[in-house]
């Protein structure tokens, strides 16, 4: 496959960036998108140019490091995959591919395609936990039966990998899907109910503070989410938040 890549290049947070064009040849369908970028970088290094920097780590779709807005969609045109699982067989010979960093005020660009997603960490630090000590002196794991459906729903919310595709896809750069997945994961379990009120209030307050946009329920986040996190989580968080506001 022969492709034309248009890649966002930006030296650092303080400089202006631009799209640069790179032709590339010899790409096979079995390559992952990141392996295609590896090939490009190898060429750039051999030519004496600076390679393109992008976040990536596990390359099996679970760590949430890789990002990239590919042809106008986070993680590219395929569904339920991260960029590292996106394979080049999704593209055709002669295609032009535009590659940009995830864009949001709360995700400033660090370099090239790498963005700073610590705003997500701060949202989690604001309440994304159950306050139990890790001493191990707790009750037996089977002492509280948990309804299977609740456990499964909680798990489904907890599969969020924190990649930021929801923010990138949203026309408002809203972090509601991410935050609601983190809230739901605990809200659905009996262990998490104890602190539910404070948790949702604090996490939403932090989310707002970070400068994310509002949710307009376009549903783009759900469709682009590599883990298929459901919009039901956003409704649940809204519910939790209303309850908490009335109570608190």
């Amino acid at each position: 496959m022969k492709l034309t890549l248009k890649i966002w290049r930006q030296k650092n947070a303080n400089t202006k960036g631009e799209l640069k064009t790179y032709p590339i040849d010899g790409i096979e369908g079995d390559m992952s998108f990141l392996e295609m970028l590896d090939v490009l970088n190898e060429e750039l290094i051999n030519k004496g140019d600076e390679p393109v920097v992008f976040d990536h780590d596990c390359r099996e779709g679970i760590c949430g490091s890789c990002s990239l807005q590919i042809n106008g969609e986070p993680h590219g045109p395929d569904r339920l995959v991260t960029t590292c699982q996106l394979h080049m067989r999704m593209f055709n010979d002669g295609d032009t591919i535009v590659i940009e960093p995830f864009r949001a005020k709360a995700f400033p660009v660090i370099k090239d395609l790498v963005v700073d997603r610590t705003s997500f960490e701060r949202i989690q630090q604001a309440g994304g936990y159950i306050s139990v000590n890790t001493s191990g002196n707790t009750i037996d794991a089977n002492a509280i039966p948990v309804n299977k459906q609740d456990a499964d729903d909680s798990f489904n919310a907890a599969t969020c990998i924190g990649c930021g595709a929801c923010v990138a896809a949203c026309k408002n750069a809203s972090a509601m899907l991410f935050t609601s997945a983190k809230v739901s994961q605990f809200a659905l379990l009996p262990q998490g109910k104890v602190e539910a009120t404070e948790r949702v209030l604090n996490m939403v307050a932090q989310m707002d503070k970070e400068g994310f946009g509002n949710c307009t329920n376009t549903g783009a986040c759900e469709i682009e989410c590599p883990k298929g996190i459901s919009l039901e989580n956003i409704a649940r968080m809204n519910r939790e938040y209303l309850n908490a506001s009335i109570k608190g």
Binding site: W8, L19, R103, K105, N172, N214, T216, N217, G219, R236
Partner: protein, 218 residues
């Protein structure tokens, strides 16, 4: 509840005011449709609405407040949303993952707002002037005639119809979305969505029908 600061509270306020307007729309439509069925009923209903104390001095101000609130809040949210992405994408394919209606509520909303201006200019201001500024004698049969007269102009009729299309788009997303904003998403949501989408088509289509009917039955 921190209505003016929290994103979720704002969305809920948006949803509630929107739902209120949806209900109003149904009421407005019900009265208007009588113009097609029986002008006398239309006249008497209009007269009642125009002279009932509750409608005039309680419901009407609430409604106007609702409209303004919905609009101002929409604008506040929009400004915040735009500031959340300061550098825009060179390539952004929103159509791959969401509907036009859901992404452009501000546009459909703005058109509806402009329409409201026209609508007020056509009906509300003349009515207020008629009732409270110039003191005409009460005439419970004048409404139908005034209505028909307004729809004589093909341009006005066309503008009304266009606005109703955008109203349909606004409702198509907004009506069902308001339930999601209020945290209502469960096994009944699919059915509810069907209803809201039916409503979003039916009511504006009904208004279009009334406008065209009046235009062609001069």
């Amino acid at each position: 509840m921190a209505i003016l600061t929290s994103s979720i509270a704002r969305k809920v306020a948006m949803a509630l005011s929107g739902l209120f307007l949806v209900v109003f729309l149904a009421q407005h439509f019900t009265i208007n449709v009588t113009a097609v069925i029986d002008p006398d009923t239309f006249n008497s209903l209009s007269h009642f609405m125009g002279h009932n104390f509750f409608v005039q001095f309680i419901a009407q101000p609430i409604l106007i407040f609702g409209v303004i609130f919905h609009f101002v809040m929409g604008l506040v949210l929009e400004i915040r949303n735009r500031s959340a992405r300061q550098i825009s994408y060179k390539s952004f394919k929103g159509n791959k993952n969401s509907t036009w209606a859901s992404r452009n509520m501000i546009i459909s909303g703005a058109v509806i707002l402009a329409f409201l201006g026209l609508h007020f200019y056509d009906f509300w201001f003349p009515e207020i002037v008629h009732k409270y500024v110039e003191s005409h004698p009460e005439d419970a049969t004048r409404y139908y005639g005034e209505l028909v007269q307004k729809f004589e102009s093909p341009i006005r009729t066309a503008l009304y119809c266009l606005s109703f299309v955008l109203l349909a788009l606004h409702l198509w997303h907004g009506f069902s979305s308001s339930f999601q904003s209020m945290g209502w998403n469960n096994k009944y949501s699919k059915g509810l969505r069907g209803f809201t989408q039916f409503y979003a088509i039916f009511i504006p289509l009904g208004f279009v029908f009334i406008a065209l009917y009046l235009h062609f039955n001069q």
